[in-house]
Subunit: 561 residues, 2 copies
């Protein structure tokens, strides 16, 4: 504690982040944050420079998902405002990111001068970030600053949301005050409610003739995967996952059903879930993506739904029951169910070249080829677009993981997020799945992977445009420029590039890429423009029908998704 | 009028934009805005697809500066939030941009569902944009929508600021109501105040022994350049410009002094302005960039300063005097001054190769080489970094123009802004000056230039990192990855690329680039890492001195710029 009495605000912030597990801070310097960068350069935390600030935020998001907390440092205005989409995404996707923005000194703003990077009253940036973070503060008061830093990190870690700290540049080197330890309010379960809800849940599962479990994103963010595994191993329950929760249970687990999301589900998951008479939902957020745009067909009376702070069974509600306590108690009290789930035949890829080895690849075929190479040494990072919907059919094995912006669905997420994921988990190599449109948004960030000696394998699902939109409404606005993605190394390589048009070329390229662990590999996989993933095909039909209805009803209220 | 009774909200918006001079709308479709894109595709306005939404906003900003109004259309959340930095920049830089964002239908949000791209309550996006625009509205009410659209466009055009229109997707095709013409409040000058201030101004100028004029950004945004020229031609006044107002007067005009910005000024401008006994400032914003970080040395008693709505002379103030009326009245009443300004010897580049033709280029030498090729057929678009400070020494000729984010100083501005500027003014070719750091942020947007048959010449000032920061505080965080900028065509060309290391190579490359009007040209000009522009050198010394002071006073309030 004594140590802190001699610390200044910047060094205290760095020390607190490091204690919380942050070993890398992403971002781009600028004059309002330069003093903090100087401290960072002399700290135990490594700075990772990106080409753009939004990339830094996506990288910190990926890092946070893997490691429990991520951080970035940017300058005022031009830096911070560039991260808003990515930080809003971290909020929507429950990712604990600390964004640190420099700002003009408290002494500089007294006369309200027109300083560069200013876009309005000086506090507008704070006011904007308040709307997309769980905690936001300006560290302008040395008496409060250390406490604000503690509160910010604690909020990020407990609420799994981004937080915002603004550091006026004349406060970076100001000594702060270590106040007596603040009692941070810790939410706790009500013991009796917990006991009762666990009992009722287990009873219902044992009584059911076709029970099922659906696993969601919050299990990942709260690191409850081992408890989940213990529970399903002991009960024998079949388990589906939502798309945002994908890989929270190993997808080669014998009881795994696939992704459940209404009409977009894999067929086994949909049939099992929708015919169940007791569906236990753990850590789900019922957003439009995870519900297949609200096309789930479930009977509320059969549902047990545990979210962050409560459990709802049929039509009654247990409040003050935390998800982690509930899952932990379930795992501790689990017994084998009398219901026996019949393990489906595993997906198997034929090892020898198929008769279509020289035919153009289909998106469905590409996913099957990728399934053939998945292994626990890979982290899969998937961008937004049809590659996300296609990835429903990927089977992510145990000790691997799947990362995506599956609810917020921001394009351009995957390449920069993989930077953070890779640094947070050096034992696994990133396999990045990205559409051509998304790659054009942030693919050049691969230069930062290369600069840091990282070697992701990037598979560009090149279907020539914004294809998830083509199935809703086609028009010239869905076309984009054709890039030679495999030649990006010319710009800043070495990068191993592969132009892939069929299965034979894919096999050769991926074999080399897997063996080549020293550099970035990019596979430009050419797909047909009229080749939607199975899930997209199902959703497209559904959306198109809705749009038609709406077009017929011009002028009236109508719901178009 | 009758026509409007049958128009729906989307088509009315398109018609209103087109009437206001918008022939191109930038942006990327997404499902919440897709219906509007369909209308756009069937309208007389051309859609220009960009690779990222922030590029669309920068392009619309450039378009607006050239043409008087620009527009972009994006989807909710992931699209709109990606434009915030660029729109805040348009606000700071007085550029009238209309941002149109799709949003979930009014019918969809009634039950507050978790729709994709959502990051908080549905109205948070509106609340964020209110802080960075002069007008923001949701077009959810068919009775008000047409009036809101009129108000938005009128506000953008009169206030020279961005405005925000949110279009719920179930309202795109809803017929709107044409209300009786609304009297939009038009600001007007007070005739008597105007007469008096013009008289006093002219008297002071005639009495002064060393009068001078300083021309600022608002003259450009309000298109008062012809009046300014008439006034200085008739009076013979010498004239300096601010950096944000650069090129508002042709820089080859015989009375032109150069850029005035405190310690960063060109020397003739600084001497003339600071020794003047009557400085007429027209349309200046006294921000830190234009004042050389508040290093101007001026006596308030000698200043006549006209801003948007008032004129301040010495210590008294004329309110209700609009800039355009003031400049117009000055131009109409101008008489030759008795003071005779002596025209300085013009900067002349030696036409033959200099003895240093094979030596590495300096940034100062590069700017002189660029001066040698400037002509009225070029628009110069300059990014943020040392190329901006170096451009102080550029002499932009008549009928050409200079564009930069000179006050907001957002990196990544130039390449996408040039897209808009080129489309708004097809008769001039864009010459883009951009640093290596800024190019890495948005340089791949050149694929959109190429796709639209545009042929900018891009000169990359490759000084190997964030060099404007090196002179404030050096550290490894100022380093970036080295790209081979001249080989970007490998990714999406054809692009003519040139690797340039000396004057001879520059001359050969620029000659070819000027002759090659059919494709994008990129010159990767290698500069030394320790070679700041003259202005940067002066500023760096100044900043460094301040930083030293601050470092010595750790813990105390201190002003570090």
């Amino acid at each position: 504690m004594n140590m802190h009495q001699h610390m200044n605000i910047g060094t205290y912030l760095l020390a607190a982040l490091q204690r919380a597990g942050v070993d890398h801070i992403f971002g781009i310097p600028g004059d309002y944050i330069l003093g903090f960068y100087d401290q960072l350069a002399h700290s135990g935390i490594q700075h990772i420079g990106t080409t753009r600030e939004d990339s830094a935020a996506f990288a910190a998001d990926g890092y946070a998902r893997q490691k429990g907390l991520g951080a970035l440092a940017v300058t005022y205005g031009v830096g911070a405002l560039n991260t808003i989409n990515a930080i809003a995404g971290a909020y929507a996707e429950s990712s604990p990111v600390v964004i640190i923005s420099g700002s003009p000194g408290t002494d500089e703003i007294r006369d309200d001068p027109l300083l560069h990077h200013r876009f309005g009253p000086f506090d507008y940036q704070l006011r904007i970030f308040r709307r997309i973070t769980a905690y936001a503060a300006v560290l302008d008061d040395p008496v409060l600053a250390f406490r604000q830093i503690d509160q910010a990190i604690w909020t990020a870690k407990t609420q799994k949301r981004p937080v915002y700290l603004e550091l006026p540049r004349n406060r970076i080197n100001t000594p702060g005050h270590k106040l007596p330890g603040q009692a941070l309010e810790i939410a706790a379960s009500d013991d009796q409610a917990l006991r009762e809800v666990v009992q009722e849940t287990l009873q219902r599962l044992h009584r059911a003739s076709r029970p099922v479990l659906i696993a969601g994103i919050e299990l990942h963010r709260r690191r409850l995967q081992p408890l989940l595994k213990r529970f399903i191993d002991q009960t024998g329950l079949p388990v589906a996952a939502t798309l945002t929760g994908k890989s929270v249970i190993a997808e080669n687990h014998p009881q795994y059903l696939g992704i459940y999301e209404g009409v977009m589900s894999s067929s086994l998951a949909r049939a099992t879930v929708e015919q169940s008479d007791c569906a236990l939902m753990l850590g789900l957020t019922l957003n439009d993506v995870d519900t297949g745009i609200f096309t789930t067909d479930l009977n509320p009376s059969t549902i047990i739904r545990a979210s962050k702070g409560e459990v709802i069974i049929s039509h009654h509600r247990y409040q003050k029951v935390l998800l982690q306590d509930f899952v932990s108690a379930l795992a501790s009290n689990a017994q084998p169910l009398s219901y026996q789930f019949e393990t489906p035949a595993a997906d198997k890829r034929v090892a020898v070249a198929s008769p279509t080895a020289d035919q153009p690849l289909t998106i469905e075929g590409l996913v099957q080829l990728i399934n053939g190479i998945l292994n626990p040494g890979l982290s899969i990072v998937c961008d937004t677009g049809d590659c996300l919907f296609a990835s429903i059919e990927l089977r992510v094995p145990r000790h691997s993981a799947f990362f995506a912006s599956a609810f917020y669905t921001s394009m351009g997420f995957a390449v920069p997020a993989a930077l953070g994921i890779q640094l947070a988990q050096p034992d696994r190599r990133c396999l990045v799945l990205v559409g051509d449109g998304a790659f054009q948004m942030s693919g050049t960030e691969l230069c930062t992977h290369a600069r840091n000696g990282l070697a992701p394998i990037v598979i560009v699902f090149n279907n020539h445009g914004y294809n998830t939109e083509r199935y809703i409404l086609e028009g010239p606005f869905n076309d984009i420029t054709e890039w030679r993605y495999d030649r990006i190394g010319e710009l800043f390589g070495p990068v191993a590039g592969y132009d892939v048009r069929n299965e034979r070329e894919f096999d050769a390229a991926i074999e080399q890429a897997l063996a080549d662990t020293q550099q970035v590999s990019v596979l430009n996989v050419h797909l047909r423009i009229d080749d939607p993933s199975p899930a997209m095909r199902r959703l497209g039909a559904h959306l198109n029908k809705k749009l038609q209805t709406s077009t017929d009803q011009r002028g009236e209220d109508s719901r178009v998704v």
